[in-house]
Symmetry: C2
Subunit: 227 residues, 2 copies
DNA sequence: TGACATCGTGTCAATTTAACACTTAATTCG
DNA sequence: CGAATTAAGTGTTAAATTGACACGATGTCA
């Protein structure tokens, strides 16, 4: 069954830049393309927008279909509309970026032909996906410095060292341990748990969880998380 | 001549939130709709994306066609894709926001059925344009605090008081005159001109212009304009 | 029990921010 | 022509924030 319009229309797709963190590097989830064009190249997960779903819904659906990921942090990034970004025909793509916790991340690896790559060493990508990734990275860096989204990339219980390593990996800087802890704890948004994280031959670390309720209260009063 | 596709496609449009500043209020440029739906309602300028133009090009073309504005500051904002945002059929709209200088702004008023409204008192808008306007305002506030874009809303030669009034109008705050001047001049991005601005029964004010070249140099070194 | 590895903690100097009021230079009006 | 009016222009200080910096604590393992 075909569909006919008076004027030509671009095809509309969504693409997702999925970020994960393994404790060392910031990672991106890529899909190996089965079909032409760019057959066998790595690409961002994505696909066509259906008429009965919003853009956000399309992004979540494609994400689940292609990677098995559900209920992740997801935010619209930018819409890419270069005329020749797809060699077949005009395709406009609404790009999203997602942040996934390590638990979910391992599940995604099971998906056929999906794999994680450190952002510093991604293979050549299909279409203009390298541009999309670059934009997503820049956005993530800004977001992380201004809003408490880092927790979306960590397990529900985490140590301050893990949090600091995440910031260092994303921002590409190195931070002073004492100043970092002072600042983060000063916001009073992390609640210490009764448990400790023991791993390796050294002193165990205090575990924390992020308090999103308290954050939303502060947020409404014009509070800004800055790092 | 019709166009047929295997799967249905949403229509794709661009819409522009055009901001101006008259020295007192932040203003938005609206178009009165000639046709149904929302006949006679005010709406954002915009229209369909052609297949042979990028999204940015489409936004600029529509802006010129509907308001006569050219060569303005223009940046993509967000893409709006609620399923029922247009009562006729599925339409996805890539929203932009533009900043125009007073000289250009007066030209725009000549356009048929276009008019400026203070953002604080816009009439009811067609479609989801109120949402788009709200998003644009929020974006403009953030942008203004972090990057020197205020100059896009002022004449090429302006006084510090004009600049301050602009910041106050957009941010909805009131700023300390001495601290404001200290900070802005401290960046060394404003060059004082030989002229003075004389107006009214009082001391004339020093005119400045913004130095974009110097700014781009600083920007590359990771400089952040913050206010 | 000693070596090892990461966790956790405080001070101080330098910088930045925020609060605050009067003189200057033009115009207008009596 | 001088007095009133209006916005322009200008510095100081206290308070808060930032950034640099080093060592004892607590666990494991050989």
């Amino acid at each position: 069954m075909n569909h006919t319009y008076k004027y030509p229309r671009p095809a509309l797709t969504v693409d997702c830049v999925v970020f994960g963190f393994d404790g060392g590097d910031l990672q991106v989830l890529l899909i190996r393309r089965a079909l032409e064009p760019f057959q066998n190249r790595w690409a961002l997960p994505g696909g066509f927008v259906h008429l009965d779903e919003t853009l956000d819904e399309a992004a979540r659906r494609e994400l689940e279909e292609e990677t098995g990921l559900r209920e992740v942090f997801l935010e619209q990034l930018h819409t890419f509309g270069a005329v020749d970004r797809d060699p077949r025909e005009r395709v406009v793509s609404v790009a999203y970026y997602a942040l996934v916790k390590p638990s979910a991340a391992t599940a995604a690896t099971d998906a056929a032909e999906a794999d994680w790559f450190p952002v510093a060493s991604v293979p050549p990508l299909a279409f203009d996906h390298a541009d999309i990734l670059a934009a997503a990275l820049e956005r993530l860096r800004n977001k992380l410095r201004r809003e408490p989204v880092g927790f979306e990339l960590l397990p529900p219980k985490f140590t301050l060292s893990q949090l600091q390593r995440l910031y260092e990996a994303v921002l590409g800087t190195t931070l002073d341990k004492r100043n970092f802890r002072k600042k983060v704890l000063g916001y009073d948004l992390l609640v210490p748990l009764k448990e400790k994280h023991r791993e390796g031959a050294h002193r165990p670390a205090q575990l924390f969880r992020f308090d999103p309720v308290k954050y939303r209260r502060l947020e409404k009063k014009g509070f800004l998380f800055e790092l």
